[in-house]
Symmetry: C2
Subunit: 457 residues, 2 copies
């Protein structure tokens, strides 16, 4: 190597994180994998199948609803031929609902309905990054789509799954969450009674009660056209909250309306609640202030909050919609779905220190390499233990024992295995947490057995 090349080599470009694109160290990534595994297992235990769509959709598909085009990342080939307009313009998806709609329409004849799918993928939003907002993040969605009619059974299955899922995640042991459920038909029916032309203005304001308070919301909705007495009525209805089924019925009976939709909404809400009585008290609450901003929800709506920190906002939301794939297919496809804001939740708990981050390696056992002569024995023992389901790292060089043990300690590997250092010796294993060391056989050892032996000793 000549001098100028060597000089050049020293000009280093120090890499830095890209704002809005999170990346974890191996010890946090291990927990993230546990989360994905738990989520997948829970979704599958209810019979949801996995779907994964490409990261991109055609730009016309993504912008069909016209609202979110500011947030979209469009792809351009760096060295695209000039004037080449032969290819459709592609952009990264910003949610998993638009891709699901396209998927169901495209593969309609190959799917069995009700179609129950989960989807765990990254989505992208080209927003200016802020604290707690990512540009690239994971969402975990479940949706059920059916043809023409979708039983209310599924509206009740969603919160049951989500409660089981969230409360079982590592790091959630000391967090208390609550699912808030309402039915949009109730408030929309009331506004229909009053002949309000733009009900979305009212529901959007009501959606802000937790954030800005009743007084400010009242100002907003009277400005939007409600009379003083209408405003009082609707805010009273929106303040209905209970986690008790019997209380819910009598509270809903106080709503002063004979509107068909109001009645339907109340009955649906009670029905969903009845199907959730197996959950712990306070796991779910009926809360009529929940309306969700998105105007495609037409019935049941969900939000999920930390009881201690409701202002953090919803970590898991969704609802029922009348027709998923209109615009793609001449079928009526009602659905209900819910979506976990995975990365936002994971990074919150990571920042809070809720995770045990001691393991930097998935290895259960570090196999010591005693010397070159016994290296075959060490490799054999490692293979035997792997065959029995253990993760085993075989140390890479016959270095001093102290160095090998320190490596296991720094990587957080819980057991160190000593194969025979010379012929005739036995295998031994050391529990790095207790410091106990005992004779072991790679063909039948287990961590419990080891623990048992130690206790017996």
């Amino acid at each position: 190597m000549n001098e100028s090349m060597s000089d050049k080599k020293k000009t280093v470009y120090k890499p830095k994180p890209i704002s809005g694109f999170p990346e974890w160290l191996p010890e946090a990534r291990m927990i993230e994998l546990e989360w994905f595994s738990h989520i997948q297992k829970t979704f599958e235990s209810y019979g949801f199948c996995s779907v994964e769509t490409p990261s991109v959709e055609e730009i016309d598909v993504l912008t069909a609803k016209g609202e979110v085009d500011k947030e979209i990342y469009v792809l351009e080939r760096l060295h695209k031929e000039e004037n080449d307009s032969s290819e459709a313009r592609l952009a990264l998806h910003f949610d998993q609902t638009v891709p699901l709609a396209r998927y169901v329409a495209q593969h309609f004849n190959d799917l069995i309905f009700p179609f129950k799918r989960y989807q765990i993928q990254r989505v992208w939003r080209g927003e200016r990054p802020q604290a707690g907002r990512f540009r690239e993040f994971y969402q975990c969605d479940i949706d059920v789509i059916n043809i023409d009619q979708l039983p209310l059974h599924f509206d009740a299955e969603m919160p049951a799954i989500i409660w089981e899922l969230l409360s079982g995640l590592p790091g959630m042991e000391n967090e208390t969450i609550q699912l808030r459920i309402s039915n949009r038909k109730i408030l929309l029916g009331i506004l229909e009674d009053w002949d309000i032309k733009d009900p979305e203005n009212i529901t959007r304001a009501i959606d802000k009660i937790e954030k800005i308070g009743l007084t400010d919301v009242k100002t907003l909705i009277t400005e939007a056209g409600l009379s003083e007495s209408q405003a009082n009525t609707i805010l009273e209805i929106a303040s209905i909250k209970t986690s008790k089924l019997n209380e819910l019925s009598s509270l809903l009976d106080t709503i002063p309306s004979e509107n068909e939709n109001v009645k339907k909404g109340c009955n649906e809400l009670i029905d969903v609640f009845e199907k959730l009585t197996h959950l712990p008290e306070n796991a779910v609450i009926a809360d009529l202030s929940i309306v969700r901003g998105l105007d495609y929800y037409t019935g049941t709506v969900y939000e999920t909050v930390f009881i201690d920190d409701p202002n953090y906002g919803s970590i898991c939301s969704g609802g029922r919609y009348d027709n998923l794939a209109s615009g793609y297919i001449n079928k009526n496809l009602p659905g209900v779905g819910i979506s976990i804001g995975f990365s936002r939740l994971f990074s919150k708990l990571l920042d809070k220190g809720n995770f045990e981050l001691s393991r930097k390696s998935p290895a259960d056992i570090l196999m010591v390499l005693p010397n070159q002569e016994q290296s075959d024995k060490a490799a054999q023992a490692a293979r035997a233990l792997r065959g029995r389901g253990y993760n085993v790292e075989l140390y890479h060089a016959p270095q001093k024992l102290k160095k090998q043990l320190s490596y296991a300690e720094r990587k957080g590997i819980p057991f160190v295995w000593f194969p025979p250092f010379e012929d005739g010796q036995e295998h031994e294993v050391k529990n790095m947490q207790t410091g106990q060391q005992s004779i072991a056989d790679p063909n039948c050892w287990s961590p419990d057995k080891d623990k048992h032996k130690n206790e017996a000793a």
Copy 2:
């Protein structure tokens, strides 16, 4: 809904696949998930930790090596403010090696070396799509990086892992693969002896032996500056092939060179081979025609082929490189790594019909909903079975039994469970494959037990 809206609704946009961006039906996706799980498990069983990097890197990081800029997808925000140059330009990564180099440099002080990581992510290449070429596809990489020196132990660990992994994938039962291993130091040392200025021209030609044949390669390398006798010599060396360790030593002894690098390369190759004797015969072969195109490989190189279909090309390739993160950090970080072209392999076997695609749902059991009165019992039984690790879909409406059974059949759900249709009855379960139906208890049933009962009956 007024008429014009209804008309509008009928204007449907029929979605179509995007060329180069594969997407599977649920039954194929289930196998894909099995593959990911098997790959992750195998990598972790050798102590490799998971790393996931963002989908993007700064464009300057990706184009630093200057070769692949045609293939890069750059991101643009759809409604970016004019003249906003405050943000770094981002592009989708085209492999996992550049992101690994950036990751290791950025997190250097938080990592324990040797750093053994696996990475299973999508990568993107903005090429014109061709048969078998994707624009978005999964790669599964493992690499080991160390400071200053990296033991040859790892060069031997890579093929052992890959052989175990690939031969254990569902769908590979009737495929025979072989890992071809060489060491670049051998051919490069010979060319060094001969004072060849641009050895890459020669190695690139030798890389094509399988594709274009010896005669055409000979023409290429003589055009590139080798004499007739040099061409003969190097092609003779490149034709060394053996899967037997003892044969390998004697074949390498015939190489007419005293060059230090040649000797080092031969010793390394023998050493790697010695550490792979536990693999089945023909699982690995030393093949000196393997040189790999990429010029950053400096020692061991790997390719993996289907023995029946070598022209399909390598499904898993890699090698050793001297310095991963030069340009980012003033450290010498040698590494060795190998990468599985996941999507290419998966789609080949899918097209070939190697997968059993009968299951469209992960549910093990469909729980029949007999009638509204017994719906609680059905829900309870479903929860009990889920608690015991089974995936159970509770049917969504008390429809005719025939309809519920047909649903299970069409989704490929292997068991149908009948909770009591009235008080006092017992639970029963039907094996959809054998048609056998028997009394069962949700708190202790297992498929084996069911099978056993049937056999006993």
